[in-house]
């Protein structure tokens, strides 16, 4: 028994140490999330953090005894006898069935409150219509009757409500920095009454048409990228669009047509492969006097396999 | 394994009973179907219709399909 107590105490000491190491590794380095750029991202990141702690702990309580057993309880040279006949311990079994149930319920409740916080609507939302199609995005600002092809421009700290639909197949709107993702479903965009871009003719009511809704509040100025997350055919990989989050004054200037969007820093500094680069550059399509930055000088590519 | 090998129940009297059981079941099912039709026309309540369908299904399962043979193991009437 004392020998067993020794084993248990070593494992008991190792578990918190390993938990801490794993938690540190995954949260600060290995599974570090992209910088949180929306209010929702911070809420979701709290849940991520909780999961990281859980992962680290569960990893430790499985891996520490496993590795410890492998290194300590080996068959000794020439020992052909069997190990002790321990086949059951009902208390233990009940414990490791019931305790996880509580853990699950806890995470379930957290998950629900977290989700409710993420999708909660806020006052003074700006509505923007989003149209996904093969293989690009269009953004339409109903309050200003303004269509912006391929670049979504938002104002810092102002909550937005995206009403989204697709023209052909299912797409999914995702900006990693904002964390939120929503599938977008196709409707009949030949039909003027269902097409956002048809302005005053847009009236989905008689068609029971419900655009997909997504809410978030961008909180950091910068350039982000919409990435289509649902396989939609040939050029799914390059179904991207840029998102510019501007300060209030710049946003007003942009609406008035006085502000040129800043060049996308990622794009300028990248050493891209050809296909990707050109497609991404197309996302800078000229609309409303905005010109794309000149393409960077491509470094001579060596030994392209 | 099933080891229920009943002795044969010969004799036409028993057969008639089994035949009659089938016929009675059929009558009940027919009545239920007609009831179903009129329920559907006059008070189309989904719950009522589903309950009627379940009642019919229970009859078919029990008597026509002989689901009880599964746990009784026998294959003789």
């Amino acid at each position: 028994m004392s020998k067993n107590a020794k084993h248990f105490s070593i494992v008991g000491i190792l578990i918190p140490i390993v938990t801490a190491i794993v938690y540190y590794t995954i949260s600060t380095f290995f599974f570090e999330l992209p910088e949180a750029a929306s209010a929702e991202a911070s809420i979701i990141d709290d849940l991520f953090n909780g999961h990281y702690i859980l992962i680290a702990f569960l990893f430790a309580i499985v891996v520490v005894p496993l590795v410890y057993s492998i290194s300590v309880f080996r068959q000794e040279e020439g020992d052909e006898t069997d190990a002790p006949h321990i086949h059951e311990n009902t208390t233990l079994e009940i414990a490791w069935t019931v305790l996880p149930i509580f853990l699950v319920i806890g995470f379930g409740i957290w998950g629900v409150t977290n989700y409710n916080a993420v999708i909660a609507s806020e006052p003074d939302e700006i509505t923007i219509y989003v149209q996904g199609y093969k293989w690009d995005w269009t953004f339409y600002y109903p309050d200003h009757d303004y269509k912006s092809d391929q670049a979504l421009v938002l104002q810092e700290d102002v909550p937005v409500l995206l009403e989204m639909q697709s023209s052909d197949v299912i797409h999914a709107f995702w900006v990693p920095g904002f964390r939120v993702k929503q599938d977008v479903y196709p409707y009949d965009t030949e039909n003027q009454a269902l097409n956002f871009a048809s302005g005053p003719d847009y009236d989905p009511e008689p068609y029971h048409f419900k655009p997909q809704v997504m809410r978030f509040t961008p909180v950091k100025e910068g350039v982000y990228r919409v990435r289509c997350a649902e396989i939609c055919g040939t050029s799914h990989y390059s179904m991207l669009a840029n998102v510019f989050v501007l300060s209030p004054s710049n946003y007003q200037a942009w609406l008035a047509g006085d502000y040129l969007l800043p060049p996308d820093p990622n794009l300028v500094n990248s050493q891209p492969g050809e296909g990707y680069y050109l497609d991404a550059l197309n996302d800078f399509t000229i609309e409303n006097g905005f010109t794309p930055p000149p393409p960077p000088e491509l470094a001579p590519v060596e030994d392209e396999g | 394994m099933s080891d229920h090998s009943h002795p044969e129940k010969a004799g036409s009297a028993i057969d008639r009973n089994v035949y009659r059981k089938g016929f009675n079941t059929f009558l009940v099912l027919a009545v239920l179907t007609v009831v179903e039709y009129f329920v559907g026309l006059w008070f189309p309540s989904a719950v009522l219709l589903i309950l009627l369908a379940i009642a019919k299904a229970a009859l078919v399962l029990n008597i026509f399909m002989g689901i009880t043979k599964l746990w009784r193991g026998g294959d003789h009437h």
């Binding site: - | 394994m1 057969d15 089994v18 035949y19 219709l49 002989g66 599964l70």
Partner: protein, 215 residues
């Protein structure tokens, strides 16, 4: 390379191999297997029913259904029911080696099944007749044809099954002790009937009738 040491071709002589199940044991397993198969098919038809209740609805009104002619549906439902009755009679007859009743009942089952099938295809599907519902009539047409079509495929298999069992019964292949073929056919046929018990109200009775315009 041989992963099985040695097979022998001549084992099925008079002696029963103690490792293999007897015929009686095999029948018990067959019965359980067939019931499991029916249970499996329940999932198929349940998926179709799920599609029906998922698609045939209106957010404001609730469940919908296409406005289809009622009389033929009721008649063919009854025809299928009668065929089920005869199938049961045939099974009882086979268990009692009552050849005449067996023959008559199998024939009736087959004919009734055929009437049902032809009724569905000619009258309900509108082959050669006036009808409003087409496979392209929105979710109504799609689900209606999927449900009746999938059921019709099972009726066709059932009819083939009935025909084979009928013939084998005539050849005298079933006895009081071993008429598993008839029982299997009966279970399958009743199962097809069972499916229709749920499909009939789901297609024809539940929900608000919506008239389909000719298109």
């Amino acid at each position: 390379m041989s992963a099985v040491a040695h097979g022998h071709d001549d084992h099925h002589g008079e002696l029963h191999n103690p490792m293999e199940p007897t015929r009686q044991e095999q029948i018990v397993m067959n019965r359980f297997g067939l019931w499991l198969f029916c249970f499996s098919e329940v999932f198929l038809f349940a998926a179709l029913l799920a599609a029906r209740f998922y698609l045939w609805r209106d957010p404001d009104v609730g469940a919908l259904r296409p406005d289809l002619p009622q009389a033929p549906a009721l008649i063919f439902t009854c025809v299928l029911l009668v065929s089920s009755f005869f199938m049961n009679r045939a099974e009882v007859a086979a268990a009692n080696e009552d050849r005449a009743t067996f023959n008559f009942s199998m024939a009736s089952t087959f004919v009734m099944g055929l009437i049902f099938l032809v009724g569905v295809i000619v009258l309900e599907w509108g082959v050669g007749g006036e009808t409003h519902i087409l496979p392209t009539s929105g979710a109504f047409g799609a689900v209606f044809f999927a449900m009746t079509g999938m059921h019709a495929i099972h009726v066709i298999t059932g009819l083939i099954f009935v025909a084979i069992v009928w013939r084998n019964g005539n050849l005298g292949n079933y006895s009081r002790e071993d008429h598993w073929g008839v029982e299997a056919c009966a279970i399958y046929w009743h199962f097809v009937d069972l499916v229709w018990i749920f499909f009939y109200p789901a297609i024809y009775l539940i929900g608000l009738a919506v008239h389909i315009p000719i298109h």
